[in-house]
């Protein structure tokens, strides 16, 4: 039986993940999409930490550090892409950048 802390942590992670996913799907502004992605990443990180606490292992926190590093890199690349997109389209609307349709 997991401890209440683990259970609450996992529930919070699920809520955060769902919020993030909803943001990615609903928001049209690319900056907000990126921010929602960050929320999803952090939700996944919270799930790892909760699970690590459940089995008294440091692995969960180690993975969270990896996720942090990856999130930093992702933001760097993502913002560069957002800038390039803005130069191209003069807008931050994700739906406006649809020239690659089949």
């Amino acid at each position: 039986m997991p401890s209440p802390l683990t259970r609450d942590g996992l529930i919070l992670a699920v809520i955060l993940f769902a919020l993030g996913l909803a943001g990615v799907l609903v928001r049209r502004n690319v900056i907000f999409v990126l921010m929602s992605l960050e929320i999803m990443l952090n939700a996944a990180g919270l799930a790892f930490i909760s699970a690590g606490a459940r089995w008294h292992q440091p692995d969960g926190q180690v993975v969270y550090l990896f996720i942090l590093a990856m999130a930093g890199a992702e933001v760097a690349v993502g913002l560069a892409l957002v800038l390039a997109l803005y130069h191209q389209n003069r807008s931050l609307d994700a739906d406006a950048a649809s020239r690659m349709k089949g």
Partner: protein, 601 residues
Amino acid sequence: MLDWLWLIPALPFAGAALLLLAGPRLPRAAVAVVGVVSVGISAVLAGAIAASFLMHPPAGAFEQHLWTWMAVAGFQPEIAFYLDPLSLIMILVVTFVAFWIHLYSAGFMAGDEGYSRFFGYMNLFVASMIVLVLADNLLLLYLGWEGVGLCSYLLIGFWYRDPANGRAGQKAFIVTRAGDVAMAVGLFLLFHGLGTLRIPELLARASAEWPAGSPLAIAAAALLLGGALGKSAQLPLQTWLPDAMAGPTPTSALIHAATMVTAGVYLIARTHTLFELAPPVQLAVALIGAATLLLAGFSGLVQNDIKRVLAYSTMSQIGYMFLALGVGAWSAAIFHLMTHAFFKALLFLAAGIVIEALHHEHDIRRMGGLRRALPVAFWTFLIGGCALAGLPLVTAGAYSKDWIIASTAPHRALWICAIVGVVLTSLYTFRLIVLVFLGPMRTPVSKRPGYAMQIPALVLAVLSILGGFDRGPFRTWMASVFPAQPERPEIASQIAASLAFLIGLGLAIPYARRSAVSLLERFWAAGWGFDWLYDRLFVRPIVWAARIDRADAIDSIYRGAASATRSAWHGLALTQTGKLRWYAAAIAGGSILFLAVVIFL
């Protein structure tokens, strides 16, 4: 020395491989060197092997086994070469004439953009022909046979930008293919009946197991004859040869002199035992030869394209060879093959000089008076023409042709055909010379030939005169290959042929000057209507059948597959909306689906 035999086909083949794979990246000079030298070394090797063969003749024949091609339950064709006096004389002629043609091409094709492609194909052509000649079994011979056919297609359609050239190449390929199919069936029959395709064994078994005139022997010989008719452009498969003039002139020289059209004559001479077992087929060979030589002679009289005249003359000279084969004068046929290779290569090379000097003008009515402008072309063409027409006592062509005519003496009708053929040959040859080189000049000369083009013509001119003088050694040499033939007095035939030559020569000048064209002449000019007939008989019914058969059941399977693919493409293309959020939704939905499958199943 004889062990180096394999190098003779290997060198041109290696040259072809190098030129076709790396040709465009080589400098032009290197291309010419690779193309010419590979054949040149082959020719030198062939000469050295011939000398060694003559000085220390091996018992019977020299055989070289390289490796076993395949081995399937008793069927074991080998890559092996068989050198006897017949194949020796053939490789000498092929490599030697081909070398001079290659040297000439280095000058003739100098400005062409497909320089390396051209030499690659030419080398492959020579290599295939050598394989054909040296082959120890009929399957390897067939490989060379098809290689020659392929290269003729590639070279006739060499200038592929003009669709007419491509069509001429296809015609050559398809018409000879009709004969090749017959030959393939003949090989099946021979293997089925005799259990081997090795030529010496096959011939020995055939004469041991099949009585003369047995149906199997007749069928096998007739099927092989079919193949020979296609390759050698004899009636009724002769229609491709005049159209083959679409290729570059050195190609025509190679096809007509050293390779391709002589293959049929060689095949029949090689398997002569089989034809002796089938007297009706042998008689058919003689009749076809006589018919072709007359038909081609009449067509040659009225052509206005310099190369088409030469094409019809080749057809008619090969007809003489078939005539000789048909009456059993095997050595005479091979002798004429050799002299014909010299003078016909010479005629094409000289014609090529003329054609290039006049800016690719082929029409002899617009030529004339080139005697002073192009002296080398004039004198060499004159020598070649005299050899072709059979100027008595002097030229090689006269000796070889007289031998054939004398051999036909027991068959009065064939003999008369042969003599009439001499009149025709002399008539169209000198009409050509009068129109092209004498009279007023009609087109100015724009380009003089270089040494690379003149020297081969001069060498071949010398051979066209000296090549036929003494046939005593040739006769003794061939005695080990062919059955002995009674010596016939030739003097009557020689006198008749000389008279025929003079009649043709005398008629040529008034004939060349006239301009009216009768209906009969237009019929001859169209090749006796064979193209028209085949178009009605074969081409149109097949095109018609293909058109009504456009939507049959089998086609609809493939068409269904194609349309299913197309609608799948339409459906999948719809999902590519270009909208980022739809992709993200699809990824999320897909992940949820997979997780659900993993958890609940």
